[in-house]
Amino acid sequence: MNRMPTARRCALAGGLSLCLALSWSFAETPQEDAGRRLYEEKCGMCHAAGGMGTGLLARRYPPGQELLEQRSNLTPAFIEVAVRSGIGNMPRISRAEVSDEQLALISRYLSRQATP
């Protein structure tokens, strides 16, 4: 299989090496794996390196923290509100595009590093 990263993981040339470095860099539970895949599929176009969301978050966060996968302060409740209510320039995402079950897996994946 072609191992070139998908567009969702790297939206720009500058993101290529960073994306490769980030991929599969930790042991995952099956749920985290499902959450990561869904995150890439549903959110990666804006939140991978080079995407709109990453570009805008880079204006507000220290280097590295603009990538949601690297954050340790995301909680499921915050993620779910951001997705369904929109935040800043991010439009709201419908349940047809990301179901509640899918959103729960994505939220769990993104909050896996959250410190209580």
Binding site: M1, N2, M4, T6, A7, R8, C10, A11, L12, A13, G15, L16, G44, M45, C46, G50, G51, M52, G53, G55, L56, R59, R84, S85, G86, G88, N89, P91, R92, I93, S94, R95, A96, E97
Partner: protein, 518 residues
């Protein structure tokens, strides 16, 4: 929370309709909570409430679409079909008529590729990223043409006359064969698809007799459930020339230099001459440079340009194919610009075997241009104003000066570009705004209407517009007392007597909702 029902329906009738839809698609895919209604509203709208739907229905199959359409007729429910609903700047997922039920086709993601012939057959839910990932996973040597916001649907973008960056960038022109659910629930295939199992559905556009593909573009005459699309084979080379220009008035000779290259087919991709803010709004925010209201003064514009090494105008051209052809094309283009005061010229080159160039020029989906909505800070948004002009430098420069003066008059920052068609220019102007600034938001509507009025006086019509302005723009197409609108509405009423499909789309109102016209 109270919400707008479809016009003419009681709450009980509406509930009955939703129950009927649930019977067709499954209860899970009838989305009718307050949160659901908000997710289908237009995040970038000047007034979101003006276009809020009552619910959404999300079928998975063509048969389910047919069932929903038949039920909508039975229950007299207006539907607003969307592919993926990412038509930002033009209305997103929201309906023209508030209270409509969004027919969300984003779950329909079937995709077929004919590698040998370079064609795709996509359902409406297939996004540019889906198509790109499929091609990469399967090592298919085809390139996409993607728009500046590639989050959306391949099908939906082509049906709204979206554009991209390669020689296949006129997406509507790449359509070859449609499958359409008609307003009565009948299923039609256009072109060669009208013959069952014809191997030429995606190869020959016209079929026999009248050809209907364009009838379903920017219209409300049917629900497209499959769309055939021509795709570009990965070229041997992609050579390019990027240019920057120092003066705003350079626009006239830039257009006059490019026009014959486009008209004669030397430049096969539609280059866009973009003002400095097109790049700057992606790279920086206004507050980093200026904290006063009103359009940016020239001194600030100069400082931003200096920081990012930008011209007043920027232009990128790309040539695709065997190097014998692309190198010769580059030579001809450079010769055409000889002796002109070009501020800077950069040549680019990609050849098969090089690492992939992850740019829209190479058909790689992107979303970063949407960062421009953050130019003012706050919750950003934009609407597009895009009149069509002749490919003529004098006309382009006059249009620029008229538009620039209006931007200044309304205290907005000019964000314009001139995309060179073969014999026309699409003058795309983005009006960037801050939804958290009520004073600015109060100006946007008047500003937009002034732009339309100015263009109409020159007899320039828009190629595409936001929900708020569909009636306004349709009214500017005024030959013989708006004979085209009369024709569209005769067709609409004949095909859709209950007026259930997208009432008001492109200013076309069925008789049932004629009173809703603005």
């Amino acid at each position: 929370m109270a919400f707008d029902l479809p016009p003419g329906l009681t709450a009980r009738e509406f509930e009955r309709a939703l129950a009927a839809f649930a019977g067709a698609v499954g209860e899970q895919w009838v989305l009718a909570t307050d949160e659901d209604r908000a997710t289908y509203s237009d995040h970038f709208a000047i007034d979101e409430a003006a276009h809020r739907p009552s619910a959404a229905v999300a079928p998975l199959t063509v048969e389910e679409v047919q069932a929903v359409v038949r039920l909508a007729n039975e229950h007299k429910v207006p539907l607003w079909p969307i592919s993926r609903g990412k038509n930002f700047g033009y209305g997103g997922a929201a309906p023209r008529l508030k209270g409509s039920v969004v027919l969300d086709l984003s779950r329909m993601k079937k995709l077929e590729i004919d590698v040998e012939n370079g064609t795709a057959l996509v359902e409406p839910g297939v996004g540019f990223y889906d198509l790109y990932d499929y091609i990469k996973k399967n090592d298919i040597p085809l390139w996409l043409s993607v728009p500046g916001n590639s989050w959306g649907s391949v099908c939906g973008n082509a049906l709204d006359r979206g554009v991209g960056y390669t020689t296949y960038g006129d997406h509507t022109a790449q359509i070859c064969g449609l499958e359409v659910v008609m307003p009565d629930g009948d299923l039609v295939r256009t072109g060669m698809g009208a013959m069952t199992n014809a191997p030429t559905w995606q190869l020959y556009r016209y079929g026999f007799g009248p050809s209907w593909d364009q009838m379903f573009v920017q219209s409300n005459f049917g629900v497209v459930t499959k769309l055939g699309l021509w795709m570009m084979r990965e070229p041997e080379t992609m050579l390019g020339i990027d240019m920057e220009f120092d003066k705003a008035d350079d626009l006239e000779w830039i257009v006059d230099t490019l026009a014959p290259l486009r008209r004669e087919g030397i430049l096969r991709q539609a280059p866009s001459i973009g003002s400095w803010l097109r790049g700057a709004a992606v790279l920086t925010t206004r507050a980093e440079w200026y904290d006063k209201p009103g359009a940016l003064p020239d001194s600030v514009i100069d400082a931003i340009r200096k920081k990012f090494s930008m011209g007043w105008w920027s232009l990128s051209m790309r040539f695709y194919g065997p190097e014998e052809i692309t190198a010769a094309t580059a030579k001809v283009v450079r010769k055409a610009f000889n002796g002109r005061p070009v501020l800077s010229i950069k040549e680019t080159a990609w050849r098969q075997g090089d690492p992939p160039e992850l740019s829209a020029w190479a058909g790689v989906p992107i979303t970063f241009p949407l960062q421009n909505a953050n130019w003012h800070g706050g919750r950003g948004g934009h609407v597009g104003f895009s009149p069509v002009l002749p490919a003529n430098g004098r006309a382009a420069l006059a249009q620029f000066h008229r538009t620039y003066a209006r931007y200044k008059e309304f205290g907005m920052d000019y964000h314009g570009s001139f995309a060179m068609g073969e014999r026309h220019i699409t003058n795309v102007n983005q009006v960037l705004f801050n939804k958290d600034d009520p004073e600015m938001m109060a100006r946007v509507d008047k500003f937009f209407r002034a732009l339309v009025d100015d263009a109409t006086k020159q007899r320039y019509g828009e190629y595409r517009t936001h929900l708020d302005y569909m009636d306004l723009v349709a009214s500017t197409y005024d030959f013989n007392d708006r004979a085209l609108l009369r024709l569209n509405e005769k067709v609409k009423n004949a095909l859709d007597p209950n007026g259930i499909l997208a009432p008001g789309k492109s200013g076309i109102w069925p008789a049932r909702y004629a009173g809703e016209r603005s």
